[in-house]
């Protein structure tokens, strides 16, 4: 049984999330391999874990690093047994300031699975860490924006408070 499963994992075709999204019926119930960045949160629920894997132009370098706008994200939910879940090795999932771990996941693709309330997801059989998560370069304080903002706020609040005081205590000659 185990050699057969190993063989299935090895022979599983690598597909993009885009391909699964475009032709879900073609891959429904089949073993496939995807590779992408784990983003958002690790949803550990007892003995099972849900994670989102993004296979999009930002998986290697988020927009904040490249400055290139290359469309919306593209991801799929992955369900796995907690035995496959290794957050200490992988590092935190991707979000602002973090590029999440790149995982190569082989598993069975389910489209509108009646056993799980109609979910579309990948049921992981094997998870391989390609690259751990890392901090990304993020811009720091923008001094010009802060200075202009503070200046405008000072003018606005100053004007308002002077006018407010004049109305409360009108000058009479």
């Amino acid at each position: 049984m185990i050699p057969l499963l190993l063989l299935a994992v090895i022979l599983a075709p690598q597909v993009g999330v885009d391909g699964l999204d475009r032709e879900p019926d073609r891959y429904d119930g089949r073993m496939v391999t995807i590779e992408g960045e784990a983003v958002g949160d690790y949803g550990r629920r007892g003995s099972e874990v849900w994670i989102q894997i993004n296979d999009d132009p930002y998986r290697d370098a988020p927009l904040v690093e490249t400055g290139l706008t290359r469309g919306p994200n593209r991801g799929i939910g992955v369900w796995m047994d907690v035995a496959l879940f290794q957050p200490d090795r992988w590092g935190p999932p991707g979000r602002y300031g973090l590029r999440g771990p790149i995982l190569r996941i082989t598993g069975v693709f389910h489209h509108n699975d009646p056993e799980r309330g109609g979910e579309t997801y990948l049921e992981a059989v094997s998870v391989e860490l390609v690259e751990g998560s890392r901090r990304t370069r993020t811009p720091g304080v923008s001094v010009p924006a802060l200075a202009v903002g503070a200046g405008l706020a000072a003018v606005g609040i100053g004007t308002w408070s002077v006018l407010y005081r004049r109305r409360r205590n009108p000058i009479t000659l």
């Binding site: 290359r70 919306p72 405008l152």
Partner: protein
Amino acid sequence: MLLRPSVADLKLVALDLGRIFGVVAVAALLPLGWGVAVGEWSAVSHLALMVGICLFLAGTAELLRPGSRGAVDWSHGMVVVALAWLLVPAVGAVPLALSGHFASWVDAYFEAVSGLTTSGLSLVNDLDHFPVALNVWRHTLHFLGGQGIVLAALVFFAAAGVRSLYQAEGRDERIFPSVGSTARFIWLVSIVHGIAGIVVLTADGVLAQGFTWDRALFHAVTIFMAAFDTGGFSPMSTSIAYYRSPLWEATVTVLMVAGALSFGLHHALWQRRPGLWKNLEVRTILATFGVILAVTIVGLGVVFEGAWPLTRRALFHVVSAHTGTGFATVSSSELARWSGLAYLGVIVAMALGGMSSSTAGGVKSLRIGLTLKAMANTVREVLLPERTVIPTGYYQYGHRRLSPELAQSVMAISLLYVGLYLLGAAVAYALGYDLDQALFESVSAAANVGLSVGITSPDMPLLLKLTMIGQMWVGRLEFVAVFALAGFAAAWLVGE
């Protein structure tokens, strides 16, 4: 002969706009504080710049205050509201555009208009790496728009003539004798739902979904604002599908329904007033919801196996569409594959919308109910003997008369919505999109829903982006304020 607006008229408009910007500055303190807490200094700087612009506009507008406030007429209120819903997104887009996550200023403005009008269509790139503070700002725009930004101003600046401002924003219910008291009640309802919703969603996030408490709170606050204000933005690219939790979906469904109920109905429910089920609007929305849900379930029977998946998906998406929220638990390409009855059901649900004086968009159930009643009366007039007296009353928190003038105005607005839906669809179709997808996206924009079959994306044509911005704006203001602004502009240009 058109009378050119006087300088005093313009000063009054500017003064009220300034006050609205003051409210925006106060609201922006939430994302600003959040950004400081998580150390997102770039986003904090850009939000601070926006707050500075708002405070500058609010403060300097006070210079224009006339000696006495003067007479504030109906058109003045309409013009203020119409301009506010165009100008606030222009300033609200500043931190979004500076984030680098939008391909252009138009895209950032589109996002801000979509946020404020509680539409929920998005042009953001790489949302899953978007700063938390700016994500909170996107959702705060939903909250400001859903509550009615002018309504927020009313609470802070109870001033003469505010009733026209209140009604211009698409709210015509007077729950209490004064508009200020009504505004405070609406905020009370929202805060109570907010506390309950955020507590439940945070608890579900931590206990059932395994999120850390700070991340669960972030998800709960943003999703609450998008659900109760029937917005539809989500902090993650996969919308509500990200959570994969029936409890989360159930809580969001309750919040969406609460947001789509009129605040008058909230008040009646709080008071346990009898006879609510006799209300024309309640009956209409229950009937349309029931029929559309049944049709969608039949249509989705070929997509989902089993009663639970079928009911879960159909119920969530019909509620999401009918309330004008726009959350999805399937991808946009999956939604685009829904064909026949399910596709039709979602489009019709979006087009009809929620209740009047709620945070929802669309034609609104009261107008649908009154239109059907007026049409039924007309048919009766034709079929029955000439001297037959046909009852023209309806029940809406008491017996009311459906006058010919009311019937005409209700039908006119309903037809204008149909026209707005068709206009956007025609533009998208002319730009090469499939007609069925063009119609879906157009209805979603004009009814301020936010469901998408994939057309709305950063690379869609500029003309379509501008068309959808216009649809979201006009649809949110229910036409009248926009016409008033056009009249004001015409009077300014050619008046004497």
